[in-house]
């Protein structure tokens, strides 16, 4: 009797241990949010929220009057992200459609790990190639002094978000019930018509979610944009302007800022804005994917 009770106790202790490591994920997520919020709050005692979000000038070290407006950075981040998506979405969906509907399954088996390899290249290496490869090329094509600008960042971020977009879009194309495609073919549609009118629309929610996840990656990417976009603080007016994204600004300034100053707190406030933006995008993608999975089941 005693032994059984001991065994039961041991079992529930083990269960409790695994449970706590499962719950840890929730605690970390809440912890990150709480930490950012707590550290950002002192910044808003000095800077009104409206000024922080809507003013274009970011000059925290000015000797006369420090200014903390991150609008230029928000616009820069959105600009490189939109640019990246404009390139990556059509190409990514094209590759996914080719792999799922056109290519032989053997080709697919070979190509998939190769595309995943692209995801494995560290962001700092991609940024480096932005400096040595894409920068000079862009400078030459557009006849400008240097190619470290929003366009360069967009191209690199497109490359970095492609693997995400390709693999999730392909998964959702493969999850379309075969009967849909077969019915369309039986009615005399070509494979291309079937793909474009039946299969892609049927997989659309998954494809949209894939693009949103790619977008989340692009918004939060730091090293590539830090290295390849030039980091000028001014408000961007076009893709050939040098831009400084939110991520890049934090990376540049956190190393030099004195601790526990308004500037220091403001950098955490930028982190908070970043966290909220990516959180919203990811939750959105998650809701779409989930709805889509439930319908399939």
């Amino acid at each position: 009797m005693h032994k059984i009770r001991l065994a039961r106790f041991k079992e529930s202790a083990i269960r409790a241990f695994f449970f706590s490591s499962g719950v840890l994920a929730v605690l970390i997520l809440i912890g990150i949010f709480a930490t950012l919020l707590y550290t950002a709050i002192p910044a808003f005692k000095e800077i009104p929220l409206s000024e922080f979000l809507l003013k274009k000038t970011w000059d925290p070290t000015s000797p006369e009057k420090a200014q903390y407006g991150i609008l230029s950075m928000i616009v820069s981040t959105l600009m490189v992200t939109v640019g990246a998506l404009a390139l990556a979405v059509p190409i990514g969906i094209g590759v996914a459609a080719y792999l799922s509907d056109v290519a032989h399954w053997r080709v697919r088996e070979i190509i998939k790990p190769i595309v995943e390899m692209l995801a494995g290249i560290p962001s700092v290496v991609v940024g480096f190639l932005g400096i040595v490869l894409f920068g000079p090329a862009i400078a030459k094509i557009f006849r400008i002094g240097n190619g470290l600008n929003a366009l360069n960042g967009s191209v690199l971020l497109a490359i970095m978000s492609l693997p995400t977009i390709i693999s999730i879009s392909e998964d959702s194309l493969n999850a379309v019930p075969p009967a849909y495609g077969e019915a369309s073919l039986a009615l005399g549609a070509s494979r291309w018509q079937t793909l474009i009118r039946v299969r892609i629309p049927a997989a659309l929610s998954g494809i949209i979610a894939a693009c949103m996840l790619g977008m989340g990656r692009a918004i939060g990417e730091t090293m590539t944009v830090l290295m390849a976009t030039g980091n000028a603080r001014s408000f961007p007016h076009g893709f050939l302007d040098s831009v400084r994204t939110m991520t890049a600004d934090v990376a540049i300034e956190l190393g030099e800022v004195p601790y526990y100053t308004t500037h220091y707190y403001a950098l955490f406030a930028i982190g908070l804005v970043l966290f909220i933006m990516t959180f919203v995008v990811n939750i959105g993608a998650d809701l779409i994917l989930h709805k889509y999975q439930e319908r399939e089941l």
Partner: protein, 286 residues
Amino acid sequence: MKTSTRKKIVQTVAFIVLRGCLYLVLAVLLLFLYDIGKKGGGAISWEFLSQAPRKGMTAGGIFPAIVGTFLVTVTTALLAVPLGMSAAIYLNEYARQARLTRLIRLAIRNLSGVPSIVYGLFGVILFVNIMRFGTSILSAGLTLGLMTLPWTITASEEALKTVPNSYREGALALGATKWQSIRTNVLPYAVPGMLTGTVLGLARAAGETAPILFTGAAFFLPYLPKSLGDQFMALPYHLYIMATQHHQIQQVRPLAYGTALVLVAMVLGMNMAAFVIRFRLRRKRR
């Protein structure tokens, strides 16, 4: 008749465009590997791999950065692997489809989307300041460990899912407790797969820069770190420095290329190892 010819032409053209998309992606990857391989290959020598940077980092090698990245990655693994595995065991073996389980999964998916620089900020507050680990290997490794955690959980859970239910039921039917059945019948089957996914996660962590910028990576250190409390040089951070911060950027380009090659070779090597393990595993099971 006419429409069917048109249909065929449209389809042919469309499929060529789709294939073009794929070739474009492959061409970019090839261009990357070729450029780094060609220009980085020239910089690689025994001296480059085994010595510290000299003369204001215009000569010498990257040995301290290799050691630093290795030590940080080990620290990352010490946090992310056991925690990731046990969280996966909870989710796949113990949890029922309750509201809390859904919340945990939602949190995991969201954690993998949190920007790496935000993990860096979190690491500065939690490990450097609150826990007083300072800027050190420990702080950087733990920060990377948190970032890697969602990947190791997901990968481990995938591996657990491949274990047939009859394995569990067989043990339970013989009177084994839940944990006994997991330990003797589920884990031996799942651990190789769990490790495969984990290596992929660690490879990504080893190449990350943003989370270690403020938690322990050093611009230049003439000596190797002696303990986990020391600062360190890291390959990705060293590449960043050589590519953008060095005062003689053009002169040290070859060294930057060499660093990039070593970094890419290391990360892709880890990827490759994971794929080989996975491939062998699949074959064995058939």
